[in-house]
């Protein structure tokens, strides 16, 4: 049913856009035709599918270019295991901006993000701006939920929200917002959110973000951070974060007591020159009755213009298990239209005493060729070697056409 609705929506949009093209609208986008082969983790069978990913943008519909349409979705057809047709509509909305130079209206399926909460909705969002240093935004509609294979939205799933934000103070950004979500059993979520950032002394950024859960009357998330950037190449970051995980009010898990989680982060990101950039970080995780330490180092090396090497190493130790591993990735452009790439992931980890230590490796190779200014073809293959598979090949072949 959902798939049929999606077909209708996309077909209708294409017809609408095609007819609108008659009066000089510009239609741009990308058609990505893909062949994918991967391991279906549930059936433990290799699956092979053809897919069509379509990203569409229609602009210049009206004289002042205030109206536009954006859409993005995919269809896949399994050709091996009889899984059939699958589809997902990520977004499809019409945008009318600068109505009376003060109002932006967006209608359709869209992703909305406030400090208090985010949702993919089938509905509308209206922004009121240029009315002083404070702007306003409201949104609401059907709350779209994806599961592993498709849409899991039920008939009573809705999301609404409102936000007021600072728009006219040069060195300060702030937002105060409210988000609510309904499901079949009632009001599942209602929370306040706030975010703020402040630039000062030409080299410091102070920022924070919080969510206050109204049913439990607790701050479910609080983040406070500071960035010091003496030059544009060196950034020092310090953050403190805490959370009390909260659940939907309609879930039985909302009645249980939980521990406070806290995290302290310190990071350094330094671009030494055009050829080398390095970063290092340390996080201390506190679970009230236990803790963990996470270390991370990485570098980005560009010895010559055509070559880029990315290296990352992570070490985690403490509650929840240990991880010791890294990622190495290399990109090489021997000639302008051709890009070659390869990478290795290597992780040694232990989840708990039963699983013991496991090793996971991933090797991948890829190549991309620019056939024309608006056409590329690429192939990416990878082999996963881990506790579950001695060898598991999967990949994709892609033909992209930009119009």
């Amino acid at each position: 049913m959902a798939l049929r609705r999606m077909f209708c929506l996309l077909t209708g949009s294409i017809l609408l856009f095609a007819s609108s093209a008659a009066w000089s609208a510009e239609i741009h986008g990308r058609s990505s035709t893909q062949f994918l082969w991967f391991n279906n983790v549930f059936t433990e069978k290799k699956q092979a599918e053809f897919g069509e990913y379509l990203n569409l943008s229609v602009t210049n519909i009206d004289k002042d270019n205030k109206l536009s349409f954006q859409g993005y979705g995919r269809f896949t057809q399994d050709v091996r295991n009889g899984e059939g047709l699958n589809g997902r509509l990520y977004y499809l909305y019409g945008d009318y901006s600068n109505l009376f130079d003060k109002v932006d209206i967006r209608l359709g399926r869209q992703f909305v993000n406030y400090a208090a909460g985010s949702a993919l909705i089938d509905g509308g969002k209206v922004d009121l701006k240029n009315v002083g240093p404070v702007g306003f935004s409201v949104m609401g509609g059907r709350n779209v939920i994806f599961d592993l294979d498709g849409e899991a939205t039920r008939s009573h799933d809705f999301a609404f929200g409102a936000a007021a934000y600072l728009a006219g103070v040069k060195s300060v950004d702030a937002e105060l917002s409210y988000f609510m979500k309904f499901d079949k059993d009632g009001l599942a979520r209602d929370q306040l959110g706030a975010s703020a950032k402040w630039y000062l002394l030409n080299s410091v950024k102070v920022y924070g973000n919080t969510r206050f859960d109204l049913p439990s009357e607790t701050f479910s998330e609080v983040l406070a951070g500071i960035k010091y950037f003496p030059t544009s190449d060196l950034i020092l970051t310090g953050e403190w974060y805490q959370s009390y995980p909260t659940f939907d009010s309609t879930s039985i898990f909302a009645v249980f007591a939980v521990n406070r989680y806290q995290e302290g982060v310190f990071r350094v990101d330094y671009t030494i020159n055009d050829k080398i950039a390095v970063n290092a970080g340390y996080s201390r995780e506190d679970f009230e009755t236990d803790s963990a330490d996470v270390f991370e180092v990485g570098c980005r090396i560009r010895p010559i213009e055509q070559v880029l090497l990315n290296l990352n190493y992570d070490r985690r130790k403490g509650y929840g298990g240990s991880l010791n591993g890294g990622i190495a990735e290399l990109t090489y452009e021997p000639i302008k239209p051709l890009e070659l790439a390869a990478g290795i992931h290597f992780d040694v980890f232990e989840r708990d005493r039963v699983t013991g230590e496991e090793t996971a490796r991933k090797y991948w190779l890829g190549a991309k060729y620019k056939l024309a200014k608006n056409m590329t073809a690429s192939v990416r293959i990878e082999d996963d070697v881990n506790a579950r598979f001695k060898s598991d090949w999967q990949g994709r072949a892609v033909f992209n056409y930009d119009f």
Binding site: Y91, L120, K368, E382
Partner: protein, 231 residues
């Protein structure tokens, strides 16, 4: 509730005060969308604005993006966000992996199916920024036969894993630390209320606001353990 009204009133006053302040137009970024990041950063620095899109960007971008008037849309389409948050992907970036039909962000490294219990403990809220707890986690976890997952708090205490005594003591510690993992396999909490509904073990936190919850779900959640009229 009084506390909330006080906070809202205080913030309201602050907004009114700021409304009276001088109005400064924010810089539109659409015309800079094709620029190299290093050029953006040198301009940012000279304006006293922190450079962004650095190597810490993937971890920290949610703070910048979680704002009603975020500038992301001036350079990126929504597909840029949703390829990682909701799936999709047109295969342009060779380093990006697929999990079946959808892109898999780099935070989901190596054998992520085996590794995700560990990564999910790093920050209990993190998974839910992209995945719906009931629809996503449970659609996979529900396919495993009961008892087939090796979870520390579910281990038997008897010799040779005899099925006569669960590690009851440890489950509460684990549940308090990461209740989301319990919900991933027991979305309706049926296993939990077998004991907790008896009244012997109070599961609620201190300062429990039962009225708030009762109002929002018309008491449906409360009725799972309590008799009508007793809560």
């Amino acid at each position: 509730m009084k506390k909330i009204f006080f906070i809202v009133a205080l913030l309201g006053c602050a907004l009114v005060y700021l409304q009276q302040q001088s109005y400064a137009e924010k810089t539109p970024h659409k015309e800079y969308s094709g620029m190299a990041i290093k050029d953006c950063n040198s301009c940012h620095k000279s304006e006293g604005v922190a450079p962004n899109h650095d190597s810490d960007w993937v971890r920290g971008h949610w703070v910048v993006a979680a704002k009603a008037n975020a500038k992301c849309k001036e350079c990126h389409q929504q597909s840029w966000c949703l390829d990682c948050h909701k799936g999709g992907g047109t295969g342009d970036d060779l380093a990006k992996e697929n999990f079946g039909r959808d892109y898999k962000p780099k935070s989901h490294r190596s054998d992520f199916i085996s590794l995700h219990p560990l990564k999910a403990k790093d920050n209990p809220q993190q998974c839910y920024r992209c995945h719906d707890q009931k629809a996503f986690c449970n659609s996979c976890h529900s396919r495993f036969p009961a008892g087939s997952l090796h979870i520390k708090s579910h281990l038997m205490l008897g010799p040779n894993n005899q099925r006569y005594s669960f590690a009851i003591g440890e489950h509460s510690i684990e549940a308090r630390r990461n209740l989301q993992s319990c919900a991933a396999c027991h979305p309706e909490g049926d296993v939990c209320i077998q004991c907790h509904s008896s009244g012997k073990v109070r599961p609620h936190p201190r300062n429990w606001k039962s009225g708030n919850l009762k109002d929002r779900s018309s008491g449906k959640v409360c009725l799972k353990c309590h008799l009508p009229g007793t809560f």
